[in-house]
Every structure is written in structure tokens, then in C-alpha cells.
Symmetry: C2
């Protein structure tokens, strides 16, 4: 059995939803989590900068001797991962892989909507992978650049949120999709309002939640499937304030992480 | 005459409004501008991180042998400058100095409103400096964390903008201020909608525009006041995509800067 940790990173906090699912499905696995809170957000940056930051994040996790890396950031998974996967010896999985796997499985009418940050939509990664699975699939994409700031400022279900959902999602709804990928780890926090707008017959796919299930399907050998935790360890690192991450992170994970978070200088990696 | 350049930096593009005014009032001065587009925004980060980034930005400008530095970023001016001014030999001026100077001059009822990023409001810098000028002044502050993303996504005067102005500014309006400092270089782009909400008798102060006037008042000797440009030079540096900065920067400056922008690795400074 490989006792090394699983490395997980995100541009910030949102990837903790993926970490939480991994903890649940693989209770014996140790996790090293990095949230790049000093350089968040990634979704507004150029492809080159996202690739540069992603390399740094991976090098940091490798310095902790992880056995595999999960990119829990929708932007890094779509805009950077396809370009850098071959550069490393450890396996690297992104939320795009997981979300596409699930979306293709659940759609009946083969019409899939995808929303994400500007960089994610610009990358075209979702459509590319979906069509690799099945070229008859139709995809409908829209960038939602104001969703991340909305979530970070507590606008989960306000009139402002409603107006922006209408602005971003009308075309996708009118196209008649039966499946919608929420291609950014922040978006599930808007799921209630999005679902009301899209209608209850549209399935929402949350990549953070799918990635752990995806690992369980794909990795029958590499991961420990026994479900009695013995001595797993969870370590959290950030590139900005520890206090803020502890406070919000405990909400995301539904358990306290006080005292388990360290600050690092990611620019050195 | 000191022929060295004036250094100007901002977390991104917004500081170009200050650069533009400096170009106008001091046509003989050369300018080195740095926009930290790879790490923008500053306004959501912790004080420690803002101070660290500000040091890097200053060290970069000093590597270009500037004679003085203008911090055109409201967040860096308020959250970092008070803590680092003494660390450098060149004079450093921030937009807070300039905006306070003007606000105190124009208010009649001594009630001044201040809006800015979360970090700016948390710093309390505006209120502190205003009360240093005149302890009888009353200030009313409110963070407006969604204004920067709104501006960056073209929501200058939409229903969404209106709702958020109401959310953020109602208390300040009800307090009866006659002067409102728009404490972030992005906010002047919302001035039309803000002014409609506040009423035409409230004077809006745009720090980016004030900083050049402030320099002219303060620096009677250090800067060239002759107004026939001879061989000034403008250089622009960014930490993310050149193309995007050229495109938007030309709009801010109302003249093309194509071919004058270089990308640097700010993490090395």
C-alpha cells in the first residue's frame, strides 16, 4: 500500500469541496491541500499565467512527496492541465475529467451546458473532452465572471444573483440542455438559484463532488478502499491569511481545521 | 533638473487614470508604470500580503531608477503605505493623501463618505488622515467588494449595479455626507450611477484624478512645471497578458500604447 498523501490544490477555498468528498470516500488516505489564496482568482488571468501558477502549485505539492495530484480548480484543470500533464511523473487528475465523465453518463438528449470562469470557457476544454467521448454531443458554454465574486460576498440567492443568472444562462436554457456542468468550485453555492432558473429537469453536475467518485472508479488499485481510518493526516497550506482560511474552510469541510493550516511563500516554487 | 522618471503602480489597470493626469499636468516628465495584473486584485487580500506585494512593486520601480513613486492603487495606499513609507529613500505618495487633501478642502458640512475595497475600509486609513487634518470631521465608510468585478465586467450602469449601489451606499447617503471619496481607481467608472443615487449636491472625489493635482501643489521644486514636452518617455510593465493591457489601457489613456508594454516576473522583486 502506498502511504503517501494525495495532493489537492485550488486557487482558493472552493477545492475543499473536492477534498471533503475524497476524505469521505477514502477515509484512510492522507491529504495535503494547497489553496493559492494569495493569487486567487485564476479565472480572469491569461493562459500563460495560469500555467505558470499551476506549475508552482504542483511543485509545492510534490515537495510534500504526494503520490498523485487532484486539481480541484476548474480554471487550472481546463486552461493548464492539458498542457502540463506530461511534464510530471505522478498522475494528475482535474475536475474537468471528472465532470465530463459524469455529464456524458447522465445526459439523455446529448445536450450539455457548461458554465465557468472566463479562462475556463476560453480554453474550450469541456467541449473538447465531451466530444472525445461522443462526437454527437452538443455543448453550450457561457462564462460567468461575476459568479465567483457573488459567492465570495454572500450573494447566494439575492435579486442581484437572479439577474446575473438570467444574463448568463438564458441562452443555455433556451438551447434545451438536460445537463449543466457547474465548471467552477464556487458555483455549487449558487445551485439553488441556478436550478430554479434552469428547471428541475436539468441535472446540475458539481465537479468538486464528482472528482472523488471519479477517482474511485478509475483507481481500483492505487487507493486504499478499506474504510476504517487509521492514521490519516490532513495538512492545509495557503499563500495568504491563515485565519480567514481556517474560518471559511471549517464551514466548507464541516469540521474545524484550526491549527492545521500553514502559510507558505508559493512564489518560491 | 532631475530627469529620472516618476514611478507609478497599481494592482492593475485603474491606476492609468492617475498616470493620465500626471501626463497632462507634467508633460515633460517620464513615467514608468507597473500594473500587477498577475496578482490583481489587492482589495480582498490580507494586510500582510498587500504589504509584501507593495514592497515588490516598489523594488521593481526602483530598479528603473525612478525619482519618486506614486501608488495609484487605493488598497496599497491605505493598507500598505502607512507601514512602509519610511523604508525607502525616494518619496512615495498614495492616492489616499491626495483624496483626503481634496475632500477636506471641499466639504462644507464636515461629513465625508468613503467607499473602497474591503482591505481599504478595514485599514481605516482615510478616517485617520481626515481626522488628522481636522478632528471635527465625521466620516462614514463602507466596503464595496463587488464594485471592482462589476466594472471589470462592463456593468457600469445596469440594474445589478443599481441594486448594489443601494446595498452599499444607503447608510452613507442617509448620514447626509456632502462629499464622497471613491477610494478605488475602478469606482469612477460607476460615477454616473453613484451620483444619481447620492444626489447632485454630493461631490464625488476620484483619487486617481486628484493625485496629479496633489503633486503639483506639494512639489513645487521637484517636478518640471514647464509645459512643452521634449523627450519624455512612457514605459508600461505588467505581470500578466500584454495584449489585454494594451487593449484596455489604450481606452483608459485615450491613446494607443501598443508596443510600449512589457511583461515582467514581479515575483522576482
Amino acid at each position: 500500500m502506498d502511504n503517501r498523501s494525495i495532493g489537492v490544490f485550488d486557487s482558493g477555498l472552493g477545492g475543499l469541496t473536492a477534498a471533503k468528498e475524497i476524505m469521505k470516500l477514502f477515509p484512510n488516505e492522507s491529504i495535503v491541500y494547497f489553496g493559492d489564496t494569495g493569487r486567487v482568482p485564476y479565472g480572469t488571468r491569461s493562459k500563460d499565467t495560469i500555467i505558470k501558477y499551476t506549475h508552482g502549485d504542483i511543485r509545492f505539492l510534490l515537495s510534500h512527496n504526494v503520490k498523485m495530484i487532484v486539481i480541484a480548480c476548474g480554471t487550472a484543470s481546463s486552461a493548464a492541465l492539458p498542457h502540463i500533464r506530461e511534464d510530471y511523473d505522478v498522475p494528475i487528475y482535474g475536475v474537468v475529467d471528472a465532470a465530463v465523465y459524469e455529464a456524458v453518463r447522465v445526459t439523455k438528449n446529448k445536450k450539455i451546458g457548461i458554465i465557468g470562469t472566463s479562462a475556463t470557457i476560453r480554453s474550450g476544454a469541456y467541449t473538447k473532452y465531451i466530444k472525445e467521448y461522443d462526437s454527437r454531443m452538443q455543448t453550450f458554454e457561457h462564462a460567468c465572471p461575476l459568479f465567483v465574486p457573488l459567492v465570495e460576498n454572500g450573494h447566494f440567492d439575492t435579486k442581484v444573483t437572479e439577474l446575473l443568472i438570467e444574463e448568463y444562462l438564458s441562452d443555455i436554457r433556451d438551447a434545451g440542455v438536460d445537463t449543466l456542468i457547474l465548471g467552477c468550485t464556487h458555483y455549487p453555492l449558487l445551485a439553488g438559484a441556478i436550478s430554479r432558473f434552469m428547471g428541475s429537469d436539468v441535472t446540475l453536475i458539481s465537479p468538486g463532488g464528482e472528482v472523488a467518485k471519479f477517482l474511485r472508479k478509475k483507481l481500483t488499485d492505487e487507493l486504499r478502499h478499506d474504510d476504517i481510518p487509521d492514521k490519516n493526516q490532513y495538512k492545509f497550506f495557503v499563500s495568504d491569511s491563515i485565519e480567514q482560511f481556517e474560518e471559511l474552510g471549517s464551514i466548507f469541510l464541516e469540521k474545524t481545521i484550526d491549527g492545521q493550516v500553514s502559510k507558505i511563500d508559493i512564489e518560491k516554487y
